[in-house]
């Protein structure tokens, strides 16, 4: 009976001009956003490959120089763009796409597209995620607000109930009918998106993106299920279809427009992040005085010198069998690494706490959970930015160790020293592997839990209110 009801709902919707027009608009926007996303992804991917090759070439062909000069010459690490970021750019425009890896410093990321955005772009960018998170729920509201209230006003509800149709079957049938109509929109869009990814990145990357796409789809299905169930519950509960529409549009605005901004402000006020200036100043101070403020650089260098003289049983630096400058530089790196680890761990812990606030608020607005899942599997959320930043920093440290080790081993304490291409080639090219879908799924467990809770509660509410609704 549920599928019979669903079939009739779909037939009616497809024949309804209002559905055809609104579905066509949503489909056009979705297809358009995917096309724009595809163009953006292809462009960024090509730029990334070219820039990564260029920085590698520059490193290998920098000529003869002191290894520490080479360490300052440094390299760029470019964050690769994930195929599914054509659906959701996430935090990428704000976190930056490249980081300069040099001696002594764990630099901030550079080149944030949001900095170059025009005023219009800052107002809101059309992406697949915008359509899926904002416009699809609006379409669901428009399709379902009169599902029960409208039938009650029309009189068909009495006709149905007089036949002995179970209200729960009616609610589930309507839910399946709306879901089926949405799938008519989403399936072609998904096929088009898959073709776009394959064309832009090749079959191998597309295959690798499939598990992520599967998880992302599951997240969106739960989100749409929550909206369908909730909208049907409101329609069954409301005294009129007008009241149902007003209530649902109110929730849609809260969920899609108000909650994301409010959640950011609430999270920031509960767990404030330091400004870039404060963060930089704190780190400078820690580098100078030690992570705990009681280990100044001069004292460290003095102790290193004393320890080495004692170890090699000599009375002056020039007599050391190892290069003192290299030892001092590596010691400085080790100290810096400790400071960076401490500072970034603190900063990222604040971000994680802010993220936890978002998760809690998602209990009131499921769009927050859907957004988190979407960005997560698109590979454009903060944890994956942090994952890349960690990989880049590990590479920087390896590069510094290699340069300093060469200095320690080969440089003299009394004469200038230059290394050449052989040393540069010893440093492998930077290669980054994004975390697997399961890693992201583990990060998104609570978001999935919240969406599943919303979906089940909304469908249960639809069935419950349908059982108790006034027939007229």
């Amino acid at each position: 009976m549920i599928f019979r009801i669903a079939r009739k709902e779909m037939t009616e919707m497809i024949r309804d001009g209002r559905f055809r027009v609104s579905a066509a608009i949503v489909f056009a926007l979705l297809a358009g956003s995917l096309l724009l996303g595809w163009h953006h992804y292809r462009e960024i991917r090509a730029q990334h490959i070219a820039a990564q090759q260029a920085t590698r070439e520059q490193w290998l062909k920098q000529g003869n120089k002191n290894p520490h000069s080479a360490a300052h010459y440094g390299v760029y690490a470019f964050k690769p763009t994930a195929p599914l970021s054509l659906v959701d750019h996430g935090t990428d425009p704000y976190t930056g796409v490249a980081v300069w890896l040099e001696a002594h410093k764990q630099n901030e990321f550079k080149y944030r597209p949001a900095q170059d955005a025009t005023a219009v772009q800052r107002f809101g960018e059309l992406t697949g995620a915008t359509v899926l998170q904002l416009l699809l729920p609006l379409l669901i509201v428009l399709l379902t607000f009169n599902a029960f209230a409208g039938e009650r006003e029309l009189g068909t509800l009495r006709q149905l109930v007089s036949l002995g149709v179970k209200p729960s079957d009616l609610a589930l049938g309507k839910a399946v009918g709306v879901a089926g109509s949405l799938l008519l929109l989403l399936i072609p869009a998904t096929i088009a998106g898959s073709i776009a990814i394959t064309m832009a990145s090749g079959g191998e990357e597309t295959a690798a993106a499939l598990p992520r796409a599967g998880w992302m789809s599951l997240g969106y299905l739960l989100y749409f299920g929550a909206f369908i169930g909730g909208s049907l519950a409101v329609s069954a509960f409301a005294s009129s279809s007008r009241a149902a529409l007003i209530a649902l549009l109110g929730f849609w605005m809260f969920n899609g427009l108000i909650a994301p901004r409010a959640a950011s402000d609430i999270a920031k006020s509960l767990r404030p992040t330091p400004s870039a200036f404060e963060f930089g100043q704190k780190m400078e101070l820690a580098l100078k005085n030690g992570a705990d403020g009681h280990d100044p650089a001069d004292a460290r260098n003095k102790k290193l010198e004393e320890d080495l003289l004692k170890k090699y049983k000599v009375d002056k630096v020039e007599a050391l069998p190892v290069n003192f400058a290299g030892m001092r530089l590596q010691e400085g790196e080790n100290h810096g690494n400790e400071v960076f680890d401490h500072a970034y761990a603190d900063l990222w812990s604040v971000f994680a706490q802010q993220d936890a606030v978002h998760r809690v608020l998602a209990l009131a607005a499921p769009g927050l959970a859907a957004r988190s899942i979407s960005m997560g599997f698109a590979g454009s959320d903060f944890p994956q930015h942090a994952h890349f930043a960690k990989a880049a920093e590990d590479y920087r440290r390896m590069l510094q160790r290699t340069m300093n080790a060469d200095l320690i081993r080969n440089a003299s304490n009394t004469a200038p020293y230059f290394a050449g291409d052989d040393l540069w080639a010893k440093v492998p090219a930077f290669e980054y592997t994004a975390p697997a879908a399961n890693w992201v799924a583990a990060q998104q467990t609570s978001a999935f839990g919240i969406l599943a809770l919303w979906c089940c509660a909304a469908v249960a509410a639809a069935v419950w209110t349908a059982r108790r609704m006034q027939v007229y």
Partner: protein, 233 residues
């Protein structure tokens, strides 16, 4: 088939239906007469279990409509003042939908046959009901009852607003259904139609069943006179 035993309904302390005792056998057409607010629609809604009784019981085919809500509905068909259908579906699609929800499975030709039996031309059956007149929609309602092989029919002013010809056709269909053994309870304002169609009439006033007559015992003028006498009391 229909049985009301001390059936009553009160809204906020105000009685919409005082305890009603009524029995309608298969083959009978019982017409409920009365002014607006007399309790006719309340009685029908109680049999449909659209509203819960304050007291007493309503039974269809021996089944309590509250305790056996779904089972009792399998026995009946309901035709309201305006049979409302899905305007984006054709007459035959509406019939197929409603009968399938009632548990029936019929071929397209069978469905067309039911509509024809109810008086709807085949060409009209294929049209979307957005273009139907009230009379055509009422015929689809009858076709649902025919297809469902309903043994009990509840009709709430079904001929209101129909032209005399359509109204007469509708009465003929009801007689045919009762002739096949269905029990019919019909609320109406139309005294002429009640006399012509019904086997019994009951006059309701302020929630009370004040009188019952067999239509065979009365002429049209008698029924009108008795009805008006009750209304003036």
């Amino acid at each position: 088939m229909f049985e009301a035993i001390g059936l009553s309904k009160t809204y906020n302390g105000s009685a919409a239906l005082h305890p009603l005792n009524l029995k309608i056998e298969p083959g009978e057409i019982f017409c409920l007469l009365g002014a607006n607010g007399a309790g006719k629609t309340t009685t029908i809604n109680l049999f449909l279990n659209f509203i819960a009784p304050t007291g007493g019981k309503a039974r269809i085919g021996g089944l309590d409509v509250v305790d056996h809500s779904l089972e009792s509905k399998k026995l009946l068909a309901y035709i309201p003042e305006q049979v409302m259908l899905y305007r984006n579906l054709s007459g035959i699609e509406n019939l197929e939908y409603f009968t399938s929800l009632a548990g029936g499975r019929h071929s397209k030709s069978e469905l067309a046959g039911f509509l024809e039996e109810a008086g709807l031309a085949q060409a009209d059956a294929e049209k979307r009901v957005g273009a139907y007149s009230k009379g055509m929609r009422q015929k689809v309602g009858i076709a649902i009852a025919i297809a469902k092989k309903a043994r009990a029919l509840l009709l709430d002013e079904p001929t209101s607003g129909l032209d005399p010809k359509a109204s007469n056709e509708f009465s003929a269909l009801l007689k045919k259904l009762s002739g096949s053994g269905a029990a019919i309870l019909m609320a109406t304002h139309d005294l002429f139609r009640a006399k012509e169609t019904g086997t019994r009439v009951g006059i309701m006033k302020h929630g009370h069943m004040v009188a019952q007559y067999a239509t065979s015992e009365l002429g049209h003028a008698d029924l009108e006179r008795i009805y008006l006498e009750h209304m003036h009391d």
